[in-house]
Structures are given as structure tokens and as C-alpha cells.
């Protein structure tokens, strides 16, 4: 429907009435593994496939998931006219979430930046000590927005690390949760410059034909 004020003339990309709701699933895998599409036919790097040496970890019950970015922003100011431009550089992307699932510990230890888990029945053990700053992860966050048609969006971060301090909340009458989990994705210089931080994919055969 056109506006009484008049819609813009010429070529216009119209918006779609498709909305997404809720958290995506979140998986992570050692950065040493290759993405499933490495690259795909169009040159994009994305997807995840667990191997015997590099298994994929599933983040259980994530809530309050958000994806943000950090930019270096500086204004180009000329004293005769004021700000003429703004220069931006992307520093990193950041997934922030809270999760409710503590188990298994072989996943939790990575979320908490701990050591390798040891299992000797009936016990699981891991330590929290010096943080390994050389551990990077690929992150794969798919969200199916139409279960019937199988339409989905995928956010794939190439080279991320768990950063920042976690908080384990132990409320009375409510489930424990871990907040403050941040996955910070840095530039992956092995990828093409236009997708160094992430690749975002949408699959929707009814719209994208």
C-alpha cells in the first residue's frame, strides 16, 4: 500500500513480514577444525561438523542471547564546518548469553575457561586455574524460524574466545544459571576480508528462489 505522502520512486527493496522469536541454538568447536563449508560454492565459510579430534559442544538452554559488535569510531572534524565524516573499524563481535544447563562438565569447563575434564566413574572433575589464552573456537548459532518449511538463519563466528567474568547464580526456588558468558569473535585473517568476523546465512526456499 502506498503512502499518501508518496513512496520513494525508483528501485526499492521492500521489507518482508517474517519475524523471528527466541534464542538460537549455540554450538562451538575448536578453531583448529575446518568449517563444514570450507568454503561453499560461493566462497563463504560456515557450518560445523564434529570430528573425533574436534567434537562439537552444544550450549544447553541458553537464555537472553544477544549479538553485539564493538567498533572503533572516530569523527573527522574540521573546525571550520564541524564533523564532516565518521571513520569506523570493526573490533569484534560478541555473543552474550546466560545458560541454565550445567552438564556435561566437558562442555561447562570450556564455558568457564577451565581445564580438561577428567572422568573416572562415578566422578567428573575439572579445575579452574590459569586461563589458556590460546584457545579459540568456531561458533555456530542456527535459528529455525519456520519449522514446517525448514527456513533458518545461521550466524557463524570464525574465531572466538570465551571472555569476561562469569557469575553462577544460585537462587532460592529457581534453577541455577550462569550469566556473563561472552563469546568474543575476533577477525580471522585466514578468511576473506568481507567475512573475517562472521558469516550470516539465510535459507528460505519459498522466498529465495
Amino acid at each position: 500500500m502506498t503512502l499518501v505522502t508518496g513512496t520513494p520512486l525508483g528501485s526499492i527493496t521492500a521489507a518482508e513480514s517474517i519475524y523471528m522469536e527466541g534464542a538460537p541454538s549455540i554450538y562451538f568447536q575448536d578453531y583448529s577444525a575446518n568449517p563444514l563449508k570450507n568454503p561453499d560454492a560461493d566462497g563463504y565459510y560456515w557450518g560445523m561438523s564434529g570430528t573425533t579430534s574436534y567434537p562439537v559442544f552444544e550450549v544447553g538452554c541458553p537464555i537472553d542471547v544477544s549479538l553485539t559488535e564493538n567498533l572503533a569510531i572516530n569523527e573527522v572534524r574540521c573546525d571550520d564546518v564541524g564533523v564532516k565524516d565518521t571513520v569506523q573499524q570493526r573490533n569484534y563481535l560478541e555473543f552474550t548469553f546466560t545458560l541454565k544447563s550445567f552438564f556435561p562438565f566437558d562442555t561447562l569447563t570450556h564455558l568457564l575457561k577451565g581445564g580438561t575434564m577428567k572422568e573416572t566413574a562415578p566422578e567428573n572433575k575439572f579445575g579452574l586455574g590459569k586461563i589458556n589464552n590460546n584457545q579459540y573456537w568456531m561458533v555456530y548459532a542456527p535459528k529455525v524460524y519456520d519449522e514446517t518449511a525448514g527456513d533458518f538463519v545461521i550466524i557463524h563466528l570464525h574465531r572466538a574466545k570465551f571472555v569476561d567474568a562469569f557469575t553462577i547464580n544460585m537462587p532460592f526456588g529457581d534453577s541455577w544459571n550462569i550469566s556473563g558468558i561472552k563469546l568474543r569473535a575476533f577477525a580471522d585473517t585466514t578468511k576473506p576480508s568481507a567475512q573475517q568476523f562472521a558469516t550470516i546465512v539465510r535459507s528460505d526456499p519459498s522466498v529465495i528462489t
Binding site: T52, Y54, P55, E58, G60, C61, H110, M117, T120, P142
Partner: protein, 89 residues
């Protein structure tokens, strides 16, 4: 030259050449952990150090170890239960 029985000629294999069937199987750990596990049948202890580590495991123990699974998340989209081991050969 020693004589052979007709059966030996038919099979074409001497007794000592019959391949021995190994009583062990190679299992690889699929989980990212250091695992010490005691075989339920033989009582042998097996140590795996990290995902991808491989050990010779007695077939009688391997049968049970291959059924060992992680817990299950009921979250939507969860991959469900995942096995600890798979057979290499």
C-alpha cells in the same frame, strides 16, 4: 616332501596360516576429556587422553562401552544424546 591330505590341498591353507581373530577392538574417544574407564566384563582399566585418543579394548568390554552415552538435553533443537566411543577398526 611330506604328503598332504586332500583337504589341505582343497583349502590351500596350512593350519598355522589361519589368521587369528583378534579379541580386541580399537575404540576412539569422541568426547573432550581424559577418561579412565574400567571394563565391566574383564575389569581391565582403559585410559583415554582427550578427544580422538585411541585404545585397544577387549571386545567383551567394547560392546558395553559402545553403549555409553552422554546425558540428554530436552532443549528445542538439541542434538540429544551423544556416544562416548566409536569403533576405529
Amino acid at each position: 616332501m611330506a604328503k598332504r591330505s586332500s583337504n589341505e590341498w582343497d583349502s590351500g591353507i596350512d593350519e598355522e596360516e589361519i589368521p587369528q581373530i583378534p579379541d580386541t577392538v580399537l575404540l576412539v574417544l569422541l568426547r573432550d576429556m581424559n577418561l579412565t574407564i574400567v571394563g565391566k566384563v574383564t575389569g581391565k582399566t582403559y585410559n583415554f587422553n582427550g578427544a580422538g585418543s585411541i585404545q585397544d579394548v577387549d571386545k567383551k568390554d567394547a560392546e558395553i562401552m559402545l553403549t555409553k552415552m552422554s546425558g540428554k538435553c530436552d532443549c528445542p533443537g538439541s542434538i540429544g544424546r551423544s556416544p562416548y566411543f566409536k569403533i576405529v577398526r
